[in-house]
Symmetry: none
Subunit: 200 residues, 4 copies
Amino acid sequence: MSSGPLRRPRKDAQHNRAHILDVAQRACTDEGVDVSMDAIAKEAGVGAGTLYRHFPRKEDLLAALLTRHHETLDQRRKSIEAEEGHAGRALERWIDALGDWMRAYEGLPEPLRTACRVNSALTPACLDVIGTTERFLRSAQEEGDARQDIVGRDIFLGALAIAWAGGSKAAGDRTGEKLRDVLKNGWGTSKPSRCDNRSD
Amino acid sequence: MSSGPLRRPRKDAQHNRAHILDVAQRACTDEGVDVSMDAIAKEAGVGAGTLYRHFPRKEDLLAALLTRHHETLDQRRKSIEAEEGHAGRALERWIDALGDWMRAYEGLPEPLRTACRVNSALTPACLDVIGTTERFLRSAQEEGDARQDIVGRDIFLGALAIAWAGGSKAAGDRTGEKLRDVLKNGWGTSKPSRCDNRSD
Amino acid sequence: MSSGPLRRPRKDAQHNRAHILDVAQRACTDEGVDVSMDAIAKEAGVGAGTLYRHFPRKEDLLAALLTRHHETLDQRRKSIEAEEGHAGRALERWIDALGDWMRAYEGLPEPLRTACRVNSALTPACLDVIGTTERFLRSAQEEGDARQDIVGRDIFLGALAIAWAGGSKAAGDRTGEKLRDVLKNGWGTSKPSRCDNRSD
Amino acid sequence: MSSGPLRRPRKDAQHNRAHILDVAQRACTDEGVDVSMDAIAKEAGVGAGTLYRHFPRKEDLLAALLTRHHETLDQRRKSIEAEEGHAGRALERWIDALGDWMRAYEGLPEPLRTACRVNSALTPACLDVIGTTERFLRSAQEEGDARQDIVGRDIFLGALAIAWAGGSKAAGDRTGEKLRDVLKNGWGTSKPSRCDNRSD
DNA sequence: TATGAATGAGTCTTCATTCAT
DNA sequence: AATGAATGAAGACTCATTCAT
């Protein structure tokens, strides 16, 4: 029943863990983060106990999944840093990247929001991303491209809110895009023509 | 079957209904909209059947709760319309009112979002509020105070997203306010000094 | 919402009762005998209490409904008696009439079966119909057209069983008809050509 | 969460499953197939979750129960095939076996009928049994012992109807037997002496 | 007499997590 | 290390019937 090339290759724990993550990733992509742990374990061909050995809490599994995406996110960060000279523009692009990361799975914004409020397995990932956001923001603020009264966490939560409202894939309408635009527009200082300088 | 010792003497239907709503309101305030129907019935001292007689679906209970708040919201609308001459400022104030309405209970944004996508007992309330938002927005757009490419629903969803991110009352931090400000700022056309004209 | 020409005309109890029966008949026709009493009361525009005043148990309502149909059934009986000279043929036609009566509403066979076993409000109607069946059967037996070892109740239950299996309206396939044919064939004494002497 | 004082030590999965089936069998025998899953779980001394682990749907439990009986049924089939030379007689005996299988529990015919119409966990069992019936029927038809216009499904439904009418064990009266006889008689071609060749 | 509010046990099912094997 | 059986508290909702008004 499904599963990768090797079904529980037993080689070593790491391989098994990776396999579980592969399966979990697909499961979350297909069904959202509310898939049951049992379903993931079953699809991965392992017992629930094994799943919990690797990821004691469901949060931990989610955190591991996010870590994977974090690598992708980090590459986008590097690209932006390398390519973008304009700080405000860099922040905008970062917000886009942020949104993609947050909408990786249906229902992901919810646990991310929780992780922002109380400590959870997802908190480190959030803090890391917030830190990067803070850096982009700071540059923009120094250039006068961003309001002084906001911090990285604000932008993170704003992007999260918009990701929540837009849904993951079902962003059928243009609302999601417009909200993202509003967010990017909103954090700025007075902008004469924010709406027309978009080329992306 | 059964017939406990004391059968609530029914007093008056409306009175009882109001009592249930009072209890539900407190329960939702304390525990969020995810409180169970059974818990509400128990706390109200009525059987589950009574609760369901008044509110056939949980949605209906929530809708009734919102209707209560809607009256408050409507008064704020009237105040704004009466007091505020500047269309853009009126819209801003309306967005604030919207946010308060949406954050009445922890977890409320979720069913509201659903009601925007598929029909639910909450949909009429959403449509009504969106309609009002549309009117405020239109005025602002006519005055050149708001972007032309957005509609009432966009603002509604934006406010909803921010309400979701901010949480109900437990906002604690300033993030919620800042996000609201960003939203208000974001939908505007180029604004020379949006950040400093706030007096509220 | 729906209801006959006069909504609770209040003229007198009998009229009200008849109105309820009209509504109940349509409700059972549309939704089967499992419609809730509340639904019937609501559609009839009366309180549940009024419904229960006329029909203390759901069974009683069903029994009243059957009584109505019984009149139709009785006319068929008279027709058969008047037109049919051949006792065996008369029994066959009676069995058909029986089946139509039993399939008046989806789910009706169930309470009828119960009424055959234990006393219920439907029992009198059953006994009456069984009595008639007995008479038709007896004639056929005297003519040598029916097995001697069966009684009216057997045929009644056989017809009931087939009505149950065939469903009320969803008799999409030919099974129902074939089963009825089998029943009619089965109770007979040796019949050289039962399958081909059907003209109906 | 919770962790009661005694957690069933799991002994052996199969053992436990068998135990649940034993309990379910007794429960269905005593109270019919409408016993609640909770009642079965309680009586078996396991949590509801355990019950549902073994049998995800109530249907599945019922199907498992039927599978047990199916083995018995299959042995009767073998016996008939081995002992009975006369195809018509073999079919008769098979119909008897069918009836016993269907009357294993009060209320069983209902889900079986459903399984004939729409797919359910019981459908495979039904199809299997219908297949066997078809084979017996075909032989009888080839010998001229059965009407040509019926198929296995018709006989299955006929037997089911009769099982429904007769009730499980509480048949008490002779009606059930007589109906079965009628069915066996009814599907036949002209039979000179069907009523007297019964020895069973 | 009519009303309709109130009852509340009962139904199936889910799932994160634990722990005996 | 791995397994997968066991847990059991919830949860939303139904409906025949009763009885205060």
